[in-house]
């Protein structure tokens, strides 16, 4: 029993590390449902980590929009954001950043972590290919 507890104690930090700062930031909020999808497959060789934040109600959505400076009421807003401050819009610079996509209809924001050019290209290809179908 003691050994089992020790193993669980050792595994706990591993699980905590696997959760991103972004996930932890939103997961503690009561009016948001948050998920982190690790290793989301873009193609046979490229995967990315995604954090999805869903506002449980209109007030929570409006608060999120305000925090991330999202304007408009319909369709989708998307931009490249800084890793630590996704609200800051940036251009692709080869550094780790987030592809942020906000869907008004779903009251959902997706943060796709991009670590390199390969992932960036794969994400754009994924969007283009799926939209063509």
């Amino acid at each position: 029993m003691k050994r089992l507890l020790v193993i669980l104690m050792l595994l706990l930090p591993v699980v905590t590390i696997a959760q991103s700062e972004l996930y932890k930031r939103y997961a503690s909020r009561e009016d948001l449902t948050v998920a982190q999808v690790n290793g989301f497959k873009l193609n046979e060789s490229v995967r990315v980590n995604v954090v999805l934040v869903v506002a449980d109600n209109e007030a929570a959505w409006n608060r999120l929009k305000e925090e991330l400076d999202i304007r408009g009421e319909e369709g989708v807003n998307s931009w490249l954001g800084e890793l630590k401050q996704p609200v800051k819009r940036v251009k692709w610079n080869g550094k780790t950043l987030l592809r942020v996509i906000a869907s008004h209809a779903r009251r959902t924001i997706g943060f796709y972590r991009i670590d390199n050019e390969e992932q960036y290209d794969a994400l754009l290809d994924y969007q283009l290919n799926k939209m063509k179908k």
Partner: protein, 87 residues
């Protein structure tokens, strides 16, 4: 010898003497003990195998999902990640 070391030795001695007494009074005890160990080991092996099979059977569109609420499956979250990209 510290008090802690003494306690450990004392406990060990108690267990050993208890095992010896059981073995002397009930010859089938050792066999039973080994059978129990064997069963536990086999159970652990089966559990490990089942976990491995479950991992292999998991949809390949994602590796692992964390969520702060229950109610939505991992596959549904992966599906949402895909749908948001297509909007």
């Amino acid at each position: 010898m510290t008090e802690n070391e003494f306690d450990k030795l004392w406990q060990q001695a108690e267990v050993e003497s208890y095992s010896q007494r059981l073995a002397a009074e009930y010859p089938g005890w050792r066999r039973k003990q080994q059978r129990t160990i064997g069963m536990v080991t086999a159970s652990l092996a089966v559990v490990a195998l089942l976990v491995l099979v479950a991992q292999l059977q998991q949809p390949q569109d994602f590796e692992k999902v964390y969520c702060n609420r229950v109610g939505t499956t991992d596959a549904q979250w992966a599906s949402l990640a895909a749908e948001i990209l297509m909007e």
